[in-house]
Amino acid sequence: MSFTEIIYGILFEPVKTLRYLAENKPLGQGLLVFLVVLIFNIIVGQGNSNLSYELSNLSLPVQIGWFISVITGIISFFMLFISAALLSLIGEIIYRKSNAVGLLTCLSFASIPGVLGPALEYLFSLAGIQWLAILISLAVGIWVLVLQVLAVREALLIDTGKAIIVMLIPFVVLIALAVLLVIGVATMSPISY
């Protein structure tokens, strides 16, 4: 598969393409794609925030917006590695299936539709059709999420239900930790009766 075919495949033939990526692991290309998507989203996201009436009313300094976008981008890049490692580890623990590099490659390419969301959102915001912009943003978000599930499925060679469980486990653990933290803080309350 050529690079162009991979990009086309992720958008229109995701299962076949992700299977190829999980087996062949073109990680360099994957990370490059992820970085390009990230940088593009930072630029267009900044444009979007300039159009936001609510944000402009906050009178935030322009540089703060850029600073937050860049920091978010850097965190996203590191989170990609952490996600791939974590999901692969969960797959290994629960289903005895792991493929960290393949999963990292698949997740990197799965971000491609994410570049279309902010771009279309920006265009529709410019045209003043805010509701459509929000709708498209939501649709693209779901598209990327579905691709991520498929990425986990194809990389770990498990079925869709198991892939969803693998993806949900970190969130469940996070929620459980948050609940425990809240309970812990509440019991440490200095107020006594």
Binding site: I7, G47, L51, S52, Y53, S56, L116, Y122, S125, L126
Partner: protein, 298 residues
């Protein structure tokens, strides 16, 4: 072929959208917000022509950045008026002059400029204020200080105590004028005095031009000896137009631009960035180690 076309189309689309975002970010075109913006430009600290500041400096008011902001205000269609918030003891003559020229261009473009004085708006700061349409100060603001100063250190005795002897090779008699290694000669003193006098004349012309009809030349000459005034004294003398705070200045700018009260969006054009807030912007070792003695309006 079909796949290549789809990918190429997607790339072109993304490039176009990205370019629009970049152009709009630079121009800060306001599509969705209010179409009447009052631009705020802060002049904070010593006014300087240098784009560099030391680690321990608060940064000062950099002429290039301020001129860029004024230019932006002139070019943006949505900015209807500007409030120049000055909190400065003054600065170098040339830097104050070039900012004032840019302010004149902004006013010529039909955009009213209102000065809002903070704690202090003296000397070079007042020079800038004279290039605005309306000057507003607080009663306790320190302003005035119309004058020019140049201070040179004579370190001859210190050098001798340290055993340092400066050797000077120069192309002309006055090339080392102001050298810290020797006292000024009478001729040099006269040369520098004439320089200061000329700058002072220019300062007076600026105030006369800016305060025309509000203070007579005679009155001005009486008070233009470097003394400072409170905002209230300055109002009585005609050096400012009114007393009021920052918000009063914004309201005044709205009024002068013909915008109904509270309808304009206020946008600060030169908020300090993250690094500037830490005092770490554009730091260069040479700037920390060497500082020139230049003529100042302070």
């Amino acid at each position: 072929m079909k796949k290549k076309l789809v990918v190429a189309f997607m790339l072109v689309f993304l490039l176009v959208v990205g370019s629009i975002a970049v152009v709009n970010e630079k121009g800060k075109t306001n599509f969705a917000g209010s179409d009447s913006v009052i631009g705020i430009i802060n002049v904070e600290g010593t006014i300087t022509g240098s784009g560099l500041s030391g680690i321990m400096d608060s940064g000062g008011a950099n002429a290039i950045e301020i001129m860029e902001n004024i230019k932006t205000a002139r070019e943006r269609q949505d900015i209807k008026a500007v409030v120049l918030r000055i909190n400065s003891p003054g600065g170098t003559a040339a830097a104050s002059q070039e900012i004032a020229e840019e302010l004149d261009k902004l006013r010529k473009a039909g955009k009213p400029v209102v000065t809002s004085m903070g704690d202090m708006c003296a000397s070079g700061g007042y020079w800038l204020a004279c290039s605005t349409d309306y000057i507003m100060a607080n009663g306790g603001t320190l302003t005035g200080s119309i004058g020019v100063i140049m201070q040179l250190a004579n370190l001859e005795e210190l050098y001798s105590k340290l055993g340092i002897k400066m050797e000077t090779i120069k192309s002309g008699e006055h090339k080392d004028i102001g050298s810290p290694a020797r006292p000024l000669t009478l001729e040099e003193r006269q040369l520098l005095q004439s320089l200061i006098d000329d700058s002072y004349e220019q300062f007076l012309e600026q105030v006369k031009k800016g305060r025309e009809g509000k203070i007579s030349e005679e009155e001005l000459l009486k008070i233009a000896d470097g003394r400072i005034f409170s905002g209230r004294q300055a109002l009585k003398l005609g050096l400012i137009d009114g007393l009021g705070n920052y918000y009063d200045a914004i309201r005044q700018a709205e009024k002068m631009a013909g915008i109904k009260k509270g309808e304009a969006t206020v946008e600060v054009l030169n908020q300090p960035n993250f690094w500037q807030k830490l005092g770490l912007s554009n730091v260069r070792a040479g700037d920390i180690l060497f500082k020139d003695n230049i003529m100042e309006l302070r």
